[in-house]
Amino acid sequence: MNLDLAKPDPLPSYIYVLSDFLRGQQLFSHLFSSRVSALSFRSTPLRFYLFLVKAELIGWQHIDFGFEWRCTSISHFGMAIERILKDDASEEKGERARMASFVGAMAIADLVKTTLGPKGMDKILQSTGRGQTVTVTNDGATILKSLHIDNPAAKVLVELDISKVQDDEVGDGTTSVVVLAGELLREAEKLVASKIHPMTIIAGFRMAAECAREALLKKVVDNKANEEKFKTDLMKIAKTTLSSKILSQDKEHFAKLAVDAVLRLKGSTNLESIQIIKKPGGSLKDSFLDEGFILDKKIGIGQPKRIENANILVANTAMDTDKVKIYGARVRVDSMAKVADIEAAEKQKMREKVDKILAHGINCFVNRQLIYNFPEELFANAGVLAIEHADFDGIERLALVTGGEIASTFDNPESVKLGHCKLIEEIMIGEDKLIKFSGVEMGQACTVVLRGASHHVLDEAERSLHDALCVLSQTVNDSRVLFGGGWPEMVMAKAVDELARTTPGKRSHAIEAFSRALVAIPTTIADNAGLDSAELVARLRAEHNKEDSNAGIDVISGSVGDMSELGISEAFKVKQAVLLSATEAAEMILRVDEIITCAPRRREDRM
């Protein structure tokens, strides 16, 4: 890595793409065959090869992300004699750093771009771990989470949460965030190329984002007061969210399911009380919402299969051998007879415990830990239903829905709050037996049982339903609603365009660019649906020039349609989060003018 001092920078206009040799060669022959003007490589200890590609190739649009790649450069400090960084650490400055981060971020955006919209395509993700598990998904968050990324800027977009936050806080719109951020950076790249300072671009973007938010705020519809209308709003939102997922075939069914579930929550955003159980078999249409609670456990043998007006004790206690917890205690005996005595005492102890539990007047006992055969038998004798090994989640939820408390000591039965439910019964879903608690005290809880042909379908269905539930529960709290189908983007773009016209100075270029990036979203939706995006977006724009237009892209018929008639709605909160997160992400990447990569930590040689 020593450079000749006489030539401060031997190859100023090249960037160095470091890639795995074989896959790299494939890539280059595949993509740039004619355009690679200089290709040279040298081996390094890591069996990596150095490719020199002309910088203009950075216009690449269709990078398939199936391989790992990264840009790096030989550090060149102009006249610097000493390397100040450790070997293997690399440094990229100015234009190159920006280029590397733009390319990385855009590649990510292009990757998920095709999943956007109702006709977006799915991705197959294959894990590198054992078993090479395969996930088929359309959910941006899931795709991004599973990617193995080496480019720091791409990481900003993905790993460090822009999309994760979107998923956690709002639940939906992860793809849109990444696509919008990518488009913003694509526009910013052009501006930087025409010598506009990144800070000026950021200032413009900020103004534009604020203006776009205002524009949306002016157009929101709030139907909170009218319950009937609000419910149809929710239905519309649910349908719009689900239409881009695997559930789109049965979106009517699932939208109703999700809305019912969320309305039961009565405004709380705590999705814990909605339980999702996946059972392979049947078809997606057979999925149903069940009030009450379903526990994926079997009823012990010889115990009642059906209990009416159940009193439930939810417990977290050891029902195997109740250990003596005092430290250092051990059993030390000198004859077999004494062993038998102590064993009897132990049994007695367990029997007393069971008696104490029974003294609560219960007919159902749910324990988080194991129940050994002996106490189980005792319970069976007493005609009490005993369920063992309900996992922690199950216990907490059960306690929540039945209104009982989780007990660990049983000395004063009168003060322990028992849970109640009208009916406990064993039900069959597919081939599995499950225990259903219906008529529980807390009406909020419910269970969604998903049915589907395979695990992949079920997993994807769960993710889609989760998205819909998140969006709906947020909408219940913030009931402002917008139209979908690219309508909000056009509204924002229009307002931002106007701002650009009235803003003096260089910032107006950035503001204009922002509006172009916004329009890219409806364009992508149209492209993904195989429609003529240029034509459609132009018509949409014309349509939006009229006052109070409700026009958006109708993907099904492939034309511009009235969104209020088509019933395509989106939650304001989601759109706002998309806008702000994407701007923030783009800003963060734009501000970078230098990337310093430390030497990767050496792996211990396991040979």
Binding site: A80, I81, E82, R83, I84, L85, K86, D87, A89, A97, S101, P152, K155, V156, L160, D161, I162, K164, V165, D168, E169, V170, G171, M199, T200, R206, N270, N316, K325, I326, Y327, G328, A329, R330, V331, V333, K338, I342, A344, A345, E346, K349, E405, I406, S408, T409, N412, V416, L580, A585, M588, R591, V592, D593, E594, I595, I596, T597, C598, R601
Partner: protein
Amino acid sequence: MALAFDEYGRPFIIIKEQEQKTRLRGLDAQKANISAGRSVARILRTSLGPKGMDKMLSSPDGDVTITNDGATILEQMDVDNQIAKLMVELSRSQDYEIGDGTTGVVVMAGSLLEQAEKLLERGIHPIRIAEGYELASRIAVEHLERIAHKFEFGENNIESLVQTCMTTLSSKIVNRCKRKLAEISVKAVLAVADLERKDVNLDLIKVDGKVGGKLEDTELIYGIVVDKDMSHPQMPKQIQDANIAILTCPFEPPKPKTKHKVDIDTVEKFETLRKQEQQYFDDMVQKCKDVGATLVICQWGFDDEANHLLMHRNLPAVRWVGGVELELIAIATGGRIVPRFQELTAEKLGKAGLVREKSFGTTKDRMLYIEHCANSRAVTIFIRGGNKMMIEETKRSIHDALCVARNLIRNNSIVYGGGSAEIACSIAVEAAADRYPGVEQYAIRAFADALDAIPMALAENSGLQPIETLSAVKSQQIKVT
């Protein structure tokens, strides 16, 4: 040189493996060092000022940090060169002592080295240069004191403090809501400041962050935020006028430190031991209850049985609270940390007006807020932001702002920003240079030139013509004085 001969003419080796060692001496050595120092300075130069750019750092484990903070950049840069390490140390010590200006100090040092190189080429001895620099820096500091303004502030008059903090924050990514963050920082510092002794213990300010929400949701809490929730999901989520027992002993059967064995060899012993065990838990909970505690905060875990007993006796509890947080809670609530149940008394309980659990977003993240404490000397700045990086960067920025506010409380004189102080010093040093006979004069002039580097970098980063801007500002300053 590496080979010497002893008195019998036998050669012996002073430095082994001569061929593989390189050695720089004299002017070359100095130049090599200077260039290393300058390359570090050059990395930071573009981060200076309100329009400075950020650096993206990727750690050996692949974690990405985006920051504008000089100390952080240098810390994470994986520097190998000795001189460069010196610069890193320089920035770090600035961070420890003053808290802010970590970028400026490195840029300034770099430009001093740059000027020194020119002098060295002219054949001036390094010691003379160093002496000249020393003289010049004395002049500059004197001048700074002359142009500094004293200002007054009080509990209600925080405007000038906020203004200064805003200057610090404007160079960071958080400048979108710098006003709000500056106010938060100043209020936090004032809340914990000892205005009589003019001292601030920054340990009392806890800066905590949680991913989610917006930067605008960042808030100052007169109390403590703990990233924990109640030990039992059914405990009350809100407690008014809490009496807090702060424990460092677990709700578990005692574990004597000496090794011992309890032998069970008869049924009776088994029985008594069992009773004993139940008694333990009962006693523990009862003790807390007896002294009037309404909330138990414990450093350790609870046994399932103890947990249920606590719940049962209506005594909310929090487990696994970290040591630092425990101390802060003790300070804030005026309670004492109790290491043994036997020592629990009513006086040792901490008091807080309101303890509540707050949940965020759609995930089940919960945090515990302890507010309206008896002694509101401990405060928490709770940062929200779009992603983890944003929060980390905000934490660093807030740290800088807090340090600035603290320094102002210690010494309430300010100089004006935007490079004006540097230019003023540069003019003063330049003027003083002529009065010194001898070679030092050159070094002093070089120092004045080096001072110009900071306003120059500011102008350059903002996209202005550096030389033009600098000369315009300079002439204006000279006209006024």
